[in-house]
């Protein structure tokens, strides 16, 4: 029974699905969003915060390209912090704790009000296929809906099982059903489907906590909005978080009850994230640590739910009650929701293209946790790109692919496509080899051109961005060219601002690179000095880092050399000597377009890359030889006849 037609169908209304459906509808395509629970659009299933190190970078990137996450976060922030504020500017990351309900309501409104976008509450049972292509979906009601592209963002819901103690129930989140059928269909199409695990801590009742025994943690005074479209002020009242610690008694109870933990009994097969271990894991693996810190974070302004960061657990409920009450301040705590672990199916991401379209099924795109990632920001980044690329495929435009030196979003997709993942993949600044260039402050400059190419923003939306960018460039040129000279007057000024005298004519840019000097000191030499933080902040960082940035750019140009070395489509890996069976299998699965990409496929060793390079060079040489010998043979044919 075929009833409706859309350009794009997005399955799932989490952080990936929202960005996907908004991007595609904003690019003018009729889009259908299908969710199994319309009350849970943009729901924060785990921690009540957006951003953080490397994640904050991605939120800004999504925003610069036309996504929604930054605006929603700015509008619902109840505590803002700039992490690593005392460290270098490249590794600072913004993090907002959000009012969870308000965030979800904000997103629900945006989705429901978006033109070109229809929302449907249903469960998707299977994909409709036509000669190897995906042409739509079928709902649990047996309704067929056709579309030119389908984006799947089912999160942790595929064949999901929740574990509390040794009892397990099907479901992707408390109160929500699991999605069944889809992963079996994908498996039947030859996809490698594997299991991952993640967990969530208990939620506690605020009024049952003895706050006097905890340490308050305040947010920053200064707010840096995630969206360049938001105002620099907070719209909601700000809350305080609290710090507490586990005790030796906590650890003792946990150790005594490990036999009731589904992870330790082998009931859970999927691998959990190493960077976000359960409290059971922490206690077992770091025996020498007698106490672990935990943050108590309010989940909103109008709720008494407290999120217990760092204490994710899947022990039975009575054991959770017991050990929670040994944590300082929680002696009489009441639990509103117990912690649990969830195990789910994911598609090994080396099976998708850079565009996030699957290699196995044309017109099918995957984004978010289904690709083995973890985190709202990682999901939103993929969702946005999948939505854009699903739309662009229909519009017959080339896919948007961000490179590793362009955006964290580029690092994310590149890692997934080439390296795959064994544990839920989370972004870190250390994953970005060009970290000094990929900063929060220069996001708009980095992505201005891509943003224009995508076209969600109108020219006039980006006018101000462009004007700031050119103002910065002009100001930079000015400082590079303005020299101060070693005369008595100048030396006195330098002494006055607390820095060494100069020995030779020095440009103001060079002067500013001195660690003890800041932008404001330049007012001694420039009048009037520009003070608009939108112009100055990023410029000052660029100048301070300029030595490193230059070196990093040299490395990037070397990287591009390999990136520009194309691997012929017809290459036959199994005929290249020196490749292991594993390497051949991985290369054939990913089918890298360039040698640079091949080098980043995990499990493919440099000796293999050398062998491939030798083959490419040899076949180039042979190509020449063949041409020569063909010419010779032809001429000999001519001469004999």
């Amino acid at each position: 029974m075929s009833t409706q037609n859309f350009d794009v169908i997005v399955v799932g209304a989490g952080h990936a699905g929202i960005e996907a459906c908004l991007a595609s509808s904003r690019l003018g395509l009729s889009t259908l969003l299908i969710t199994s629970n319309i009350q849970r659009i943009g729901y924060m299933s785990c921690n009540p915060a957006i951003g953080g190190l490397a994640k904050g970078h991605m939120v800004r990137e999504i925003d610069a390209l036309g996504g929604q996450m930054g605006l929603a976060t700015d509008a619902t922030t109840i505590q803002f912090k700039r992490l690593n504020a005392t460290k270098g500017p490249a590794v600072r990351g913004s993090r907002s704790q959000c009012d969870k309900d308000k965030y979800s309501k904000y997103m629900t409104n945006v989705v429901l009000l978006e033109p070109n976008l229809t929302t449907l509450e249903a469960e998707v049972k299977k994909l409709l296929m036509n000669s190897g292509r995906c042409v739509g979906i079928q709902t649990d009601q047996g309704v067929d809906i056709h579309a030119k592209s389908v984006v799947i963002t089912t999160g942790t819901f595929m064949n999901a099982v929740m574990h509390v103690g040794l009892s397990s129930t099907a479901g992707g989140r408390v109160g929500d059903r699991a999605t069944t059928g889809l992963s079996d269909q994908l498996r039947a199409h030859g996809f490698l489907v594997q299991r991952l695990k993640t967990g969530t801590p208990p939620r506690l009742k605020a009024s049952s906590i003895d706050w006097s025994k905890t340490t308050p943690q305040y947010g920053d005074e200064k707010f840096y909005p995630f969206s360049f479209r938001s105002e620099r002020r907070l719209s909601l009242p700000q809350v305080t978080c609290y710090l507490s610690r586990t005790t030796e008694k906590t650890h003792e109870i946990i150790r005594e009850n490990l036999n009731k933990s589904p992870i330790f009994c082998g009931q859970i097969e999927g691998l959990g994230p190493r960077y976000c271990p359960s409290i059971e894991d922490k206690v077992t693996r770091f025996k020498e640590k007698i106490s672990h810190q935990t943050f108590l974070e309010p989940e909103g302004l109008d709720t008494d739910h407290i999120y217990l960061q760092g204490i994710s657990t899947s022990l039975p409920q009575d054991i959770q009650d017991q050990f929670l009450r040994t944590i300082t301040g929680l002696e009489n705590v009441e639990v509103l929701k117990y912690g649990y672990a969830v195990e789910y199916d994911f598609i090994e991401p080396t099976q998708i293209h850079y565009s996030l379209e699957t290699r196995g099924i044309e017109n099918l795109f995957l984004a978010g946790q289904i690709n083995g990632t973890s985190g709202y920001e990682e999901a939103a980044a993929q969702g946005f790109l999948a939505g854009v690329n699903a739309a662009r495929k229909i519009l017959e435009k080339p896919a948007i692919v961000l490179s590793r030196d362009q955006a964290y979003m580029g690092v994310l997709v590149d890692d997934l496509v080439n390296k795959g993942t064994k544990e839920p993949y989370r972004m870190f600044t250390s994953r970005a080899e060009y970290r000094l260039i990929l900063r929060e402050d220069n996001t708009l400059d980095r992505l201005y051109n891509v943003s224009r190419e995508i076209g969600i923003f109108k020219e006039k939306d980006l006018e101000e961005v462009f004007s700031l960018k050119s103002k910065r460039q002009n100001l930079r040129a000015e400082l590079d060219d303005s020299y101060i000279y070693p005369n008595a007057h100048t030396q006195e000024k330098l002494r006055y601002i607390g820095t060494k005298e100069i020995l030779k004519p020095t440009s103001l840019s060079t002067l500013l690179r001195r660690p003890e000097l800041q932008w404001k000191h330049l007012e001694q030499f420039v009048s009037p000095l520009e003070t608009d933080p939108d112009i100055v902040d990023s410029l000052e960082i660029d100048i301070k880092y300029s030595g490193y940035i230059k070196r990093q750019e040299e490395v990037i140009s070397q990287f591009k050399k390999l990136e520009n070395m194309h691997i012929p489509k017809a290459i036959n890996y199994s005929s290249i000597k020196g490749l292991s069976a594993e390497e051949i299998e991985k290369l054939e699965r990913v089918k890298p377009g360039t040698l640079g990409q091949a080098a980043r496929i995990s499990g493919v060793n440099p000796s293999a890359i050398q062998a491939i390079l030798v083959r490419i060079k040899a076949s180039e040489d042979r190509g020449n030889d063949i041409r020569k010998s063909t010419a010779l043979e032809n001429s000999s044919v001519v001469s004999t006849t």
Binding site: L53, A54, L83, N84, K87, G88, A90, V91, Y275, Q293, G310, F428, T429, S430, E433, R435, L436, P515, Y548, R551, Q552, V555, K561, L562, S575, K577, G578, S580, L595, A599, N605, P606, S607, A608, I609, Q610, A611, L613, V614, K617, A618, D621, R622, D625, I626, S629
Partner: protein
């Protein structure tokens, strides 16, 4: 004509030095080794056992006897090249070897290019780049000690050194990275003292490798000793005495030696090359001037200079002029013709000024020759220190210097209290250099270097 992929060929070559000897070894490598060999070794089984030796007679396809041989078989994955390999030990006669190779090529083998066995071992992941270079060194090494060192490199000793550097660099990096990415978790990673200790250990290790390069180079290439002095100071006589044969022409006419003469001896298993040169003086003779120029160059390139002066004349102003142009650290003064010694005062005065080693020698009576050789030996003993003699390739040396540079910058930033992201940046650059040494990263330089050394593809 279309050439099939050369890497798929089964190749053969003589693996022992050409010429007569007790035995010669012909090696065959490639997937058709057994098939091709069987055409001339009828006794050889279809499915030989790896690492087993088979005895029998080789015959031509016409049925004529070639030789009585032993054939060792190494199965694919268990041989040096990682391919099925047969090694024929035959009698060490070039005629027999040529006949075997001719027959093998007639059976389908291709004659191997220079270094092709090593190239295959490298391409098949059997050895890493450092080891591959060691194989070339083993083939080229000039002395017993050098080949022993090359062998150590081949066994992975050197790779191990670099892997240790890499391991320690990654250790440091992980600390700084963690301080950035996990700053909100209470990790105890900021013990400055511990980080500093690791930095210093790494810098020390690096320094050790760099110092080792000099001795490593000498051991591989041999010690070059230039004989320098004014005309007729007796350089050629001393050379003849040192090598024990008449290689240089000795005449009473000053300026006889115009071309460089180089003679090798072996001391403590190390090759020592003596270079006899033209006497240095102001000369209007064009040919002689060219010779003098060569002498200066030889002195500059040598590891050691034996500066000869005539003891009957003593160290004169002309000598001091020449000595000024030499690197005093590598000069040993030889008071030559000590049998004719007349005026010791001049030399002693110079010695007091410059604190240089001086030794009295007579080529005529042979006195002092042993002392001179002992002095050279003792210098070599210092270089033979096994600990230091690991770094062979110049490529390693330059990369270790580059690595040290990044490491020092990282340490400096660390001491100045700079941000972790900047320290990590320097360390990552260093790590990239180490990867290049180990052939772990894809680098056009490495690749072209491989092509240069291994003669591939053509």
């Amino acid at each position: 004509m279309f050439k099939p992929d050369r890497d798929q060929d089964t190749i053969c070559a003589l693996s022992t030095p050409a010429g007569r000897g007790g035995i010669s070894v012909v090696r065959i490598s490639g997937k058709n080794s057994v098939e091709y060999l069987k055409k001339i070794a009828l006794f050889f089984p279809d499915h030989p056992e790896s690492h087993k030796v088979y005895y029998g007679h080789l015959t031509t396809k016409a049925g004529d006897l070639i030789d009585e041989v032993l054939i060792s078989y190494f199965a694919s994955g268990k041989s040096f090249t990682s391919e099925a390999t047969c090694e024929i030990s035959c009698h060490g006669n070039p005629v027999i070897v040529q006949q075997i190779l001719k027959e093998l090529i007639g059976s389908g083998c291709r004659a191997a290019d220079p270094g092709e066995f090593t190239y295959r071992a490298f391409m098949n992941g059997r050895i890493d780049l450092v080891q591959a270079e060691a194989v070339l060194s083993t083939i080229e090494s000039q002395s017993v000690v050098a080949s022993r060192m090359a062998l150590r490199q081949l066994q992975g000793d050197v790779s191990e050194q670099f892997e240790t550097l890499e391991k320690n660099t990654i250790w440091l990096l992980s600390r700084f990275e963690a301080a950035i990415d996990f700053s909100t978790e209470d990790l105890e990673i900021n013990d400055k003292k511990e980080l500093e200790t690791h930095f210093l250990e790494l810098i020390f290790h690096c320094k050790k490798l760099i110092n080792a390069f000099e001795s490593g180079r000498v051991l591989r290439d041999g010690l070059r000793v230039a004989l320098i002095g004014l005309p007729n100071s007796g350089k050629s006589s001393l050379l003849n005495k040192l090598v024990g044969e008449e290689r240089a022409i000795v005449t009473e006419v000053p300026g006889t030696t115009r071309d460089l003469i180089e003679v090798d001896i072996s001391l403590k298993g190390v090759r020592v090359s003596f270079i006899d040169s033209a006497g240095i003086r102001n000369s209007s003779d064009q040919v002689e001037s060219i010779g003098i120029e060569r002498s200066r160059k030889a002195a500059a390139e040598a590891d050691l200079v034996l500066y000869l002066f005539d003891s009957s004349i003593g160290l004169i102003h002309d000598d001091e002029e020449v000595l000024k142009g030499l690197d005093s650290k590598k000069v040993i003064l030889v008071e030559h013709k000590s049998d004719l010694k007349a005026n010791p005062q001049g030399s002693i005065k110079y010695l007091n000024q410059h604190g240089q080693t001086c030794i009295s020698v007579s080529s005529k009576t042979g006195s002092g020759i042993n002392e001179l050789l002992q002095l050279l030996e003792s210098l070599l003993v210092d270089l033979l220190n096994e600990d230091s003699g690991v770094l062979i390739q110049a490529r390693h040396y330059h990369l270790v210097l580059e690595f040290e540079n990044f490491l020092k910058r990282a340490y400096e930033q660390f001491c100045n209290g700079q941000g972790e992201e900047v320290i990590a940046f320097e360390l990552r650059e260093g790590q990239r250099v180490l990867n290049r040494i180990l052939g772990r990263s894809v680098d056009e330089d490495i690749i072209s270097r491989i092509f240069k050394d291994f003669c591939i593809g053509k």
